[in-house]
């Protein structure tokens, strides 16, 4: 990395809610950076504010204090270099796969023909070619999340943020999608350059990430930032893999 500017800088971000003059602190002084080619997972117990942190990072929520910079500038919700994938898939049931994916491009005011071409490319990249005219109700959970991923990728983001993207899927489907996300991330011809993912599954974080940021329970504070130096593809049965899982567990509980 040298002196190159980080893609994302999270600078002492804190978040509180106020109710009848009383302060409820959700996040406390979160500070980390993310560079191109990083795959970072944020883990922590439920209620630690990790999803709130992700919303602040993509500009959907504001910090009470602190700052989020993307390529050196304050983050904005309409930044086309950052895309988000949601746990609930967030698909429109009355639109087909292709229409749901093209929706990601509407904000960019591309012309319809161009929208179709770009959507086609990413529908293909996530293995959904053949399902273009299917409606969400005709798809399995894994397929629905592929639509969410394809839609996020259409804007060709540098950073892909994902909020528990696999937690509503069965274990087999989730594992298959994890591998596909790794394939996309490691493919230099396709976005994204970097991934930031929130998960409550420690095993998932160790399987995917180069770096795991561990948050404490409320208010969420950074407990550790660990470099996972296991070679890929990683085997969840490997004792070294389990060593990492164990270490992170001991930091959280």
């Amino acid at each position: 990395m040298g002196d190159a500017q980080p893609l994302l800088q999270v600078k002492d971000v804190s978040k509180s809610y106020f109710d009848q003059g009383k302060e409820f602190k959700i996040l406390d002084l979160i500070r980390f950076e993310l560079a191109e080619r990083d795959f970072v997972c944020l883990v922590g117990p439920s209620g630690c504010g990790k999803s709130t942190l992700l919303r602040i990072i993509v500009g959907l929520d504001t910090p009470t204090s602190g700052q989020v910079l993307f390529e050196g500038h304050p983050i904005r919700a309409d930044n086309p270099q950052v895309a988000m994938v949601f746990q609930s898939f967030a698909l429109f049931p009355w639109l087909t796969v292709a229409q749901n994916v093209e929706l990601g491009l509407e904000a960019l005011h591309e012309d319809p023909a161009k929208r179709r071409t770009v959507a086609k490319k990413f529908i293909d990249a996530v293995g959904l070619t053949g399902f273009e005219n299917a409606y969400p109700r005709e798809l399995s959970g894994g397929m629905k999340q592929r639509v969410g991923i394809a839609r996020a990728l259409t804007i060709e983001p540098l950073l892909l943020c994902m909020d528990e993207p696999f937690s509503s899927l069965d274990a087999l489907t989730a594992q298959n999608l994890r591998d596909e996300i790794l394939q996309l991330w490691s493919n230099p011809d396709l976005p994204p350059e970097a991934v930031l993912m929130v998960t409550h599954s420690i095993e998932e974080a160790v399987y995917l990430a180069d770096r795991v940021i561990v948050l404490s329970s409320r208010p969420g504070r950074m407990v550790a930032e660990l470099e996972i130096d296991l070679p890929r593809p990683r085997n969840r049965k490997d004792p070294e893999f389990y060593g990492w899982v164990d270490e992170i567990y001991s930091l959280i509980v």
Binding site: A134, G142, L172, T173, Q175, N176, L177
Partner: protein
């Protein structure tokens, strides 16, 4: 042909996930262990196992699941190559061949009812719907079939390579 209905409620992702789970423990695992690890009881894991076996991706004997050479190819393949492998498998299935021949010899798109009726004659009406749904799902995945759920019409598609 009747076994094809087992694939109606199973997704590509689940089958790949299963193959990977078995691969991670050395290519052989007993079904009870896998069931525990993926937190799926036999009602949910069962159809996935049957479908994976039907596709030739695993063998199941005395409760042991063993992955095949074809599975290993699938695991290392990218998105396009995976589709090609699945296409070759399902293109050969009798239920699939029947419907593809119907579609190719028809000058108009096939209606859902027409296909379900033809399948009923072979597999019985109780399974025909499931076989039809499996055909649409796997046919779409392999890019061999185009189906419009609004008009309920099915046509043949030429796959990208």
């Amino acid at each position: 042909m009747t076994d094809f209905h087992s694939m109606a409620k199973v997704s590509v992702g689940q089958i790949l996930g299963l193959v990977e789970a078995v691969d991670e423990v050395g290519g052989v695992a007993d079904a009870a262990t896998i069931s525990r690890e993926v937190e799926m009881d036999v009602d949910r894991l069962g159809p996935i196992l049957v479908a994976a076996e039907f596709l030739g991706l695993v063998t199941v004997e005395d409760g042991d699941i063993r992955i095949t050479e074809l599975s290993r190819k699938l695991l290392t393949a990218g998105v396009r190559e995976r589709k090609r492998i699945v296409r070759e498998i399902i293109d050969d299935l009798p239920a699939f061949r029947l419907v593809m021949e119907m579609a190719r010899s028809s000058s108009t798109p096939l209606g859902r009812q027409e296909v379900v009726q033809a399948l009923s004659d072979r597999v019985g009406s109780h399974q025909a719907e499931d076989v039809f749904n499996a055909l649409v799902y796997w046919g779409r995945y392999a890019e061999l079939v185009r189906y419009d759920s609004e008009s309920e019409q099915l046509t043949v598609r030429v796959a990208q390579t």
